[in-house]
Amino acid sequence: MTVKIVTAGVDGVIVYAAVDGLEQAHQQVCGWQHTLEQAAPAWLQDSVVSYRSLYLQYDVQRVDHLFVRHWLMQHCVGTETTPAANAPPPKVHTLPVCYSLPDDHDRARIAEHHGISEQQVIDRHCQQEYRVYALGFAPGFAFLGEVEPGLAMPRLPTPRQRVPAGAVAIADRQTAIYPTQSPGGWNIIGRCPVTLFNAGRNPPALLRVGDTVRFKAITADDFERLWSERGNHD
């Protein structure tokens, strides 16, 4: 596979990874973003890593499409030896999740779907390390992957009007935590009491693209205690 640099408007390009596997592809685009941010050229306005791609926005008063394309080939996408070569070391988070609250609507459905027990759903969700593949949807919302196939679950046919803040959920082979109460169509399996987004904090989002996340089961009592300590939740 070769690196693909594609036009994304008068002031943007999107670069696609040159490797097949999702994790490797993501490591590669994270590496490119890291290189770009280390160099911090004055024309760089924004960069977004998501799964297999890196979108970047440049200042069209300073440079143009050809300049940016050439710069990327010279400094970034043409130079590394392995996909992970330039990636920064990932930060590892262990997040507490309570899997025993009454409003976790979909745990039993997932268990039934795969012919396993609810405890096995919890075990499978906890036993794996997940990678933050992208941020989006809502402030602090991180797309984590990949959930093992024996836990994957399609989105709900009709999204719920209200998913509570902290809901831990699965959609296909992705898992995530809803940072605030919002509508949502993912399958809810638990609640996480940790504040994922705080506009006053720098950076505001706890989870960053490329980070690693592990879930640890906690009791309902622990959840209540941590939830009350969390403050400003809605």
Partner: protein, 323 residues
């Protein structure tokens, strides 16, 4: 009430937002860009009151918006056309207006277009988050209190800085945009353009689309001849301003300032930034056509428009004080 209090809202429009040029580098953090959707009109309003374009003003959806003037100040109203009444006396848009404490300002409903802009000398104070005060209702961030709320009746607006009173300014006639209900916008081919079939690309270029009711600061959904979508599933990726998404139903969605930072629908290209501002002024029912261009055509247009804009700005400043 502080000595910086300048305007009090006595009647709120459908949606009035404290806004500015939006956030820099927001996509990196998974946040929306935000900012005035018709940045062209917004920038002129800022210049008319001697403000740097990064200061905060109001984006008024449709109107009317009524305000009590709490201290002498200079304001300017640009964007969509409509009445402006100061103690019942009609005032011009696209010019500096001097207001006195105790007066009552009514910014009427738009006659065409959707959004009117108000800037004040000194700029408005807001809750600074991510380097600006832009209100993003969808994210519950920004604005007066940092919770994404629109302005309400009774809200008091205060000045961010001590204002400097400037000679009267008026935007040159040629620089004032029209607000038509039909528009042809330029689309820079890109993203998944190569995956669309040649008949889908032709359909896109030749068809007329209508702005639907589902149009807001996040994006404008269009209705019209369906464009065949080339892929059913793709990994979500970063999306820039003006990206034209083609979901499975083939009805295009043009993404605007409050779009999410990533999306998983195939995109045929990007509406040119100035055309996004014009598109954001189209009311539901307005007609739209697309004309594709290369990134080089778009880059050329950008520099020509910028040179033209600088000329207009110089012209405005050289006639300062003339009425």
């Amino acid at each position: 009430m502080t000595d910086k209090a300048v305007l009090r809202i006595t009647q709120a429009s459908m949606q009035t937002l404290l806004t500015d040029r939006g956030r820099q580098g927001a996509g990196r953090q998974g946040l929306s860009q935000g900012g005035a959707v018709d940045g062209y009109s917004f920038d002129w309003a800022s210049h008319l009151v001697g403000q740097a374009a990064d200061s905060a003003g109001l984006e008024i959806l449709i109107g009317p918006l009524a305000l009590d003037v709490l201290q002498d100040c200079q304001v300017a109203i640009t964007g969509a056309p409509g009445d402006i009444l100061l103690d019942g006396v009609a005032q011009p848009s696209w010019q500096t207006l001097s207001l006195k404490a105790g007066q009552h300002l009514v910014i009427g409903q738009c006659d065409a277009g959707l959004r009117r802009y108000l800037a004040v000398g000194g700029g408005f104070q807001g809750c600074i988050q991510f380097g600006c005060v832009t209100t993003v209702p969808r994210e519950h961030l920004g604005g007066l209190c940092g919770d994404g709320a629109a302005l309400q009746q009774g809200d008091v607006l205060t000045l961010a800085r001590q204002p400097t009173f400037i000679p009267h300014l008026s935007v040159p006639e040629a620089a004032r945009p029209d607000f038509p209900d039909q528009l042809c916008v330029q689309v820079v081919m890109g993203y998944q353009y190569d995956l669309f079939s040649s008949s889908a690309v032709r359909q896109f270029g030749l068809s007329q689309y209508t702005v639907s009711q589902r149009a807001d600061r996040m994006g404008v959904r269009l209705t019209g001849p369906a464009i065949e979508s080339p892929v059913t599933q793709m990994a979500s990726e970063g999306i820039g301003l003006g990206a034209v998404q083609i979901p499975a139903d083939g009805q295009p969605i043009v993404m605007l300032n409050d779009r999410q930072s990533i999306g998983g629908y195939p995109k045929i290209g990007s509406v040119y930034p100035r055309d996004c501002q014009r598109l954001a002024q189209l009311a539901p029912g307005a007609r739209l056509r697309f004309s594709t261009c290369s990134v080089f055509d778009a880059d050329n247009r950008f520099h020509l428009e910028r040179a033209q804009w600088q000329h207009w700005l110089a012209q405005m400043i050289s006639t300062a004080g003339e009425k």
